[in-house]
Amino acid sequence: MSAIAARGIVDGTAKGPALVGAEPISFLGDVDIRTGRVVGDLPSLRNTSVKGTVLIFPYTRGSAGAWRFLYQLYKHANAPVAIVTQTVPDPSVVQGAILARIPIACEPQADLAALVQNGAPVLVEVKNGKAVIRLT
């Protein structure tokens, strides 16, 4: 079980099946609140749902309203259990994730997209600025 170090952004521990995206995601517009399904023009994530997943993707983009969509995904029980990005997500996403208690890690020390298959269980532990991503 390899453990990959990363930078911790939002504290918390969560485990779930990996969902790996190749495109940046805007939570306002790309994901349907009421189903968790990806509805944006994201070829690598067509017909998938973020619900209950460890969502791994390059970076966040788009509106400062993203916090509301991430929080609403949580309110509708359709939110990812954890988020892992290459670069630090924008402040609005981080604020939505803190409100929705969704741990976030970024800058993983390994190329997760190459190591993880969709569906494979991933454990994300984030505490005090440090994160560990375990691929079982």
Binding site: V10, I33, Y71, Q72, D90, Q95, G129
Partner: protein
């Protein structure tokens, strides 16, 4: 993060449960961005509580119930219904009544109940170097770029910062991040706020998260033009600050805008680039449309004067729905100046607190089904703003026809779409 004694007192709950929760959130935010300490803020533009999202109004009611109070001057962002005048918009009464509960919560917390995306037209004018927070990107880019205040593109925590008077020191609060990263030169004349809106949309698409420095204006842009340009930029990119040397404090020239470093090669912006944005948002075929809209971002008093001038003594075409959206504050100013009468006599509706993309027309919301919200079947909306055009496509999910303000009013008067003359 290093905390002052008062910040520790708030964090430990010695100033109440509401402030404790706010400081815990702000501390986690500060750690995420490696902020060394908090700064004191002088202004906040906070979340309204939106009736079209599940338990979102309740979020604000809970804060008010926990005794949260605004520690700094705070204005309230745009909402999902015109709280006083909802009948004219066709919204269900239950939605308007839920949205009204957000107003009561804000009154209890001491917010200025502006319910607008342009609080500056309602008197909220943070000066140079004022640290602030804003939940609305159009407000962030206007205050950063036109007033010289310092704000990140925030989310819900704008209200936490308002309650505590604190925000973590990172991002655009640091002068080292308030430097140009790209240089643009305008090679075309600009006429009307829609040209500036398309200019901003074009620049934002290139600048992404960068800081564009913009030169080549034939004359100093008016406040409404800077507002439209910023709104366009914040929509197409993640731009939080643009620099117009001589307009954006404290940058007098291009060299200062790049912090003394050698400016990069400039990117020319031509008429063709603007026409491409107009074309990009003219997707309605055959010119048929359901609604004409002006006032994105929410109109200023000067824009209300323009509309009144264009509509005075005239009538809009039969069965045309024509919305003018502004803040309840500017709507009151227009009323007292005798402008409202001229606009409404034409058949136009002057809507406050919301706009087409923020009201029950939107299809990407998640209201409580018990509210009976039914987005009406809209095929095409005529707009005079690239920002409104983009979110009509994304949230109302229908066609748009983008044109100038004068042309949009002419469209409502004649019943036939009048494109922006090239």
């Amino acid at each position: 993060m290093e905390l002052t004694r008062e910040e520790e007192a708030m964090l430990e709950g010695r100033q109440g449960a509401a402030k404790k929760k706010a400081m815990e959130g702000l501390l986690q935010l500060g750690r995420a961005f490696e902020a060394p300490r908090f700064v004191e803020i002088g202004y906040a533009h906070v979340h309204a509580g939106m009736a079209l999202y599940l338990e979102d109004v309740e979020l604000m009611e809970q804060l008010a119930a926990e005794g949260a109070k605004m520690a700094v001057p705070a204005s309230v962002n745009i909402a999902n219904a015109d709280i006083a005048n909802w009948r004219q918009t066709g919204a269900p009464e239950k939605l308007a009544r839920l949205q009204h509960r957000a107003e009561s919560a804000h009154q209890k917390m001491g917010s200025a109940c502006t319910f607008t995306c342009t609080p500056y037209w309602a008197g909220h004018w943070p000066t140079w170097n004022t640290h602030m927070t804003s939940i609305e990107s159009t407000v962030t880019i206007f205050c950063n770029s036109v007033l010289g205040a310092k704000s990140n593109r925030d989310g819900f925590f704008a209200v936490y910062a308002a309650m505590t008077g604190r925000y973590p020191l990172f991002g655009y609060h640091l002068d080292e991040n308030r430097r140009g990263t790209l240089l643009f030169h305008i090679d075309t004349a600009l006429a009307g706020t829609t040209d500036y809106s398309c200019l901003g949309f074009h620049i934002g698409r290139i600048a992404g998260e960068g800081v564009p420095v913009i030169t080549g204006f034939r004359n100093r842009p008016a406040l409404d033009e800077l507002d439209a340009m910023g709104a366009g930029m914040a929509t197409s990119g993640g731009v939080a600050l643009f620099i117009v040397p001589g307009v954006t404090p404290p940058f007098a020239d291009v060299v200062q805008a790049f912090g003394g470093a050698k400016p990069p090669a400039s990117i020319a912006v031509t008429r063709a680039d603007l026409d491409a944005v107009y074309a990009h948002f003219c997707t309605g075929s055959g010119g048929a449309f359901d609604i004409v809209h002006v006032g994105c971002p929410h109109a200023s008093f000067e824009e209300m004067k323009e509309y009144a001038g264009l509509l005075d003594g005239k009538k809009i075409a039969a069965n045309i729905e024509f919305w003018v959206t502004t803040s309840r504050t500017v709507r009151r100013m227009a009323e007292e100046a005798g402008l409202l009468r001229a606009i409404e006599a034409s058949g136009a509706k002057v809507i406050a607190d919301t706009c087409p993309i923020s009201c029950h027309f939107a299809r990407t919301t998640s209201p409580d089904p018990a509210l009976g919200v039914q987005p009406p079947p809209i095929r095409t909306v005529v707009v005079d703003s690239a920002k409104q055009a983009k979110y009509v496509r994304d949230m109302i999910q229908c066609d748009t026809l983008l044109t100038g303000t004068k042309e949009a009013v002419a469209t409502a008067l004649t019943g036939r779409f009048v494109p922006r003359a090239p």
